[in-house]
Amino acid sequence: MKSIVTVIGADRIGIIAAVCTELAKLKVNILDISQTVMQEYFTMIMLVDVAACDSPFGELSDALSELGKREGLSIRIQREDIFNATNRI
């Protein structure tokens, strides 16, 4: 199942490393990454596949927002469908 991870926060060293380590631990496969820094704000969007992940989606989401809290970032994971629904006919 494809999902979108969004990471937003103040830019600093090691954000990608921290997020990717956590995703690897959760057995989430990263399919695509785009990342930019807008007005000192780090914004990263990842397309991921959660098919191999053992934990239910809710726990995955909690683990990522916990990481976000620790790192001072806003991290979300949402099913890709919501973005398709709002942006594609």
Binding site: I4, T6, D32, L47, F57, I77, R79, I82, A85, T86
Partner: protein, 444 residues
Amino acid sequence: MINSSEILSTLEMIERQHLDVRTVTMGISLRDCTRRSPEHTARNIRDKICRTAADLVRVGEDIEREFGIPIVNKRVAVTPIAEVAAACETDDYVIFAKALDEAAHEVGVNFIGGFSALVQKGFTSADENLIRAIPEALDVTERVCSSVNVASTRAGINMDAVRRMGEVVKACGNNAAKLVVFANAVEDNPFMAGAFHGAGEGECVINVGVSGPGVVKTALEQCKGAPFDEVAEVIKKTAFRVTRVGQLVAREASKRLNVPFGIVDLSLAPTPAVGDSVADILEEMGLERVGTHGTTAALALLNDAVKKGGVMASGHVGGLSGAFIPVSEDAGMIRGAECGSLTLEKLEAMTCVCSVGLDMIAVPGDTSAATIAAIIADEAAIGVINNKTTAVRLIAPPGMTLGDRIDFGGLLGSAPIMNVNKYSSDLFIARGGRIPAPLNSLKN
């Protein structure tokens, strides 16, 4: 793949502009619950709701987390209780309201609709029993919502029912916030307090109500001073995006609960939160305060454009579908009412072009039952003549007068007491009988 700016704009809609799914409402038929014994019937009602809606809240929460879209309310609507209880050997229907309330608590929904009767042409004895029970039923329960349909374009206006409902609204006091008086009630409305599971509906169904006034308002901020053609286009596009979210949630909920998908209701439903107001949209179009001249035209455009945009985004559209204008649930409407720009008369005019009617309006506590009934009659006439649903949800809080403000709490918000015409409608309401159904041709 969806590009970054599309992803960020969707996140912005959810995070900053209050895009949410207002309600996932499960409609449940209670027709098979009827027994001679009222206790047995009440037990069947409770058991059936608890069984059928057992997973509703959990599934709603799962969808919320997976898609990252808030689903504000999970609710249940049932067959009008006057129809379910008609064969029971009792004339006290409060027992059925209690059964609904217990079931609502058990399955964890915040409102359950359907303590209802349809009396547009006349009363059965069950309808009489139900209407008599409304004040007590709303008083002894917490989550039960009630509605009574008193008029329709095909049947005209039942003025005896209108008179009775004036008295009932008055007798309900602050609980009248959970009571809607309809003309042309729809059978698949997912929104409370007027939801019920109509006669033409199946065994069980999922209906979804979307929201998103904040999203529309933000979109309109980008086209300041533009002509109305452009305004209508922007609203249509935004409504499309908002409704797609509702359609997605409806499809997903229907699949997971193994219950057929009914409709998506395209209403723009405000909440008291700042930035989630229909009045703000109207003001964004260039009105200094909602209620001033031009408000009805602005609302007409908004209501029509929301439907045009939404209808393409969903497989089945139904319910009330339009822009809601509840006073107490909309920070902008409250502001308009408090500064004197928005009056009851202007709200009545606005209901000619919006999706429902006089909604969540507080009037002085000493307003007579006949005056409340006359307000209901006016609103019903607008619905009957214009082939649309109209409704009245009016509260006359005991002891309150002009200048006071009543707080209903939560999503129901708070409302300033609004002025009513001081001249009497007593003799008009005392006549009773029926106002005949209108002619549907020779329209002018």
